[in-house]
Symmetry: C2
Subunit: 343 residues, 2 copies
DNA sequence: TAATTTTCCTAAAACGTTTTCGTAACTTGA
DNA sequence: TCAAGTTACGAAAACGTTTTAGGAAAATTA
């Protein structure tokens, strides 16, 4: 009820009959304050319901303990993207443990007119910035990365900047090898549209196929947007109409896989008895669905945690921290959507 | 490369040979500054790459243009919850248009020890707070709501505080009525565990059933956690084993509905030919899945927007804004999972 | 005892803004 | 021509911290 004024160091100082400086140092546990005074100050602060004024502190120290997160642009799905949502969730948890907060970076602000991402980040004085799930080729993103704020990117590497990426090469290799070992020889691959992730996956796909001695006809490889259920459905239809149709289809992500399921069901075919499929990501519903998806489960938890650790490290030890790429392996969830053809 | 020092009002003042006060006023477009001076100051500021120091401004004005978002606790699914993620997405967009930023509220910070949500919100000096997808009965949440920061809650009403809620009463009514009109008389209802949302849905369910002259045997009504696929699967199995089994099952959310689908498929039954089902929420995959879910699509966009408008209104016009509950209707997506039994 | 060191505290400046109040210069009206 | 009003600007205080540079008193040493 009583909307008392916020208590400041000055108030505590008055109550304790010491100087403001002493109070500040006592609360920050500096060495040159006596134990008794420290105790007194802390107790009084507690009793008076004191908490620091973030703005004043930030103004003075030039540290906000706030991290900016660039997480989507209009064309993307942002928060609703299950895979990234989980990475961010883990990232957030980790930085909060270390006393940081998370604020979204954007660029539409009415007051000061248009702000670039970098301008926004500078304005808010973020200690560091994390970037995920955006169009990395946008000049504005590049500008942000090149600004002099510590930065970590997720699933994309910028030269000379820290990045956390999931191991798409290993992922595709494990997945394809598993499918091969299950006896499949006619394997189609619907992949995502152009991005760093897609590229490494495609390369790994062809490389692994070659190593296994697999022949991949051109018509077995199609391109579709990420998370494009309808597109994946169409692509699947095309594959099913081929005279020599594949026995297994790989999808760029689990969401797209559902498009494949739709197409297959509409053809009256059963999974995996008539045709096998495999996804990527290991999103919640893919693991709960029956038949459970054969998919590469990305270690979103580790991805987020590593990103947090790396970023905070470069914030707190700017000189000794070198930018580095961390590759996080996923693991194969065998699931039930790939049929064993040989034993 | 040149990490030049940040330019401040003082620098601009020096460059323009006017006082700091004048620069500040010119940039804020105050009336008592001549047009020529304003132009000069603004051009110089622009040329020097000036942008305001957020911390200093916040310290002085006690306004941060930052909104706190409390969005989950450990037991919940937070960001990965598709329905809420979409609401937040829309909320975020709206507040950004108005020049606000969004920061997560949490309570684990190492530096100052444990902080309650309210303490955190006060520390960061949020202009307002939005709460969604949390355990509203936690004392700490209550404390935050009762703190003197403008607040809006989503899908839960606190006495005397603004809230945006989706119209669960109408939703269930429309859904049940539709199913009735399709000819179903034996309708089961798996509902979520205790919450404000669940309560209004259950009431609406029984009320509508009564109005329609429907008899609902007790064994047709089961309780399951929200988004609990496995639980919903078990519950569905129970229903399918009943001697007089329902012709249609309602689920608390689309995610749980997938559990039902699993159970039904494993029984060798088809949807909707052998049994009909209906979900709630209208999450992405439910709309893309085949058969497309019969479900109530929540207007997440409007929910988020309304929440943003309400909150900003009560921030900017604290006296004239009265706390109010806004009820946002969803709409029925007829989909393909409820079979027509009569014509 | 005197010199030195250590312990504990303070005054004051600074961070970058906003805002109040004052005032000089110019304009207006009678 | 003079009083009153208007316009355009500046000086200075304030917001709540941190930090530097001292310095008085107490403890230690010689």
């Amino acid at each position: 009820m009583s909307a008392r004024k916020r208590v400041s160091l000055k108030d505590i100082a008055a109550a304790c009959k010491v100087s403001v400086a002493t109070v500040s140092k006592a609360l920050n546990d500096q060495a040159d304050i006596g134990q008794e005074t420290k105790d007194l100050v802390r107790e009084t602060a507690e009793a008076m319901g004191y908490f620091p004024n973030f703005a004043a502190k930030a103004l003075k120290t030039n540290r906000t303990y706030n991290i900016g997160l660039l997480f989507m642009d209009d064309s993307q799905s942002g928060l609703t993207h299950n895979y990234f949502a989980r990475v961010i969730e883990s990232f957030k948890k980790k930085i909060e443990e270390k006393g940081y907060d998370l604020t979204f970076i954007s660029n539409n602000r009415s007051s000061q007119g248009y702000m670039s991402y970098l301008a926004h980040a500078r304005y808010r004085n973020f200690d560091g910035v994390a970037i995920a799930c955006v169009d990395f080729y946008k000049p504005e993103v590049e500008e942000l990365v090149r600004g002099n704020i510590p930065v970590v990117t997720i699933d994309h590497v910028f030269n000379d900047r820290s990045a956390i990426i999931s191991d798409n090469v290993m992922g595709i290799k494990d997945l394809l090898t598993y499918i091969y070992e299950m006896g499949h020889r006619k394997i189609a691959y619907i992949h995502g549209s152009d991005s760093a992730v897609t590229q490494s996956r495609i390369k790994s796909f062809y490389k692994t196929a070659m190593d296994l001695g697999l022949e991949i006809p051109d018509e077995y490889v199609l391109e579709v947007e990420y998370r494009d259920t309808v597109g994946a459905q169409r692509a699947t239809e095309k594959l099913l109409e081929l005279s020599d149709r594949p026995t297994c289809i790989l999808y760029p992500d689990d969401f797209a896989t559902f498009g494949g399921i739709n197409a297959i069901k509409q053809k009256g075919l059963r999974i995996p008895d008539d045709i096998s499929i495999a996804g990527y990501d290991g999103i919640d519903i893919a693991m709960k669905y029956s038949p459970q998806f054969t998919t590469i489960v990305q270690d979103t938890d580790l991805l987020g945690r590593k990103a947090a650790e790396k970023l905070i490290d470069s914030i707190e030890n700017p000189r000794t921290t070198l930018s580095e790429q961390v590759i996080v392996p996923g693991h194969l969830n065998e699931g039930e959507t790939v049929k064993r053809l040989i034993s």
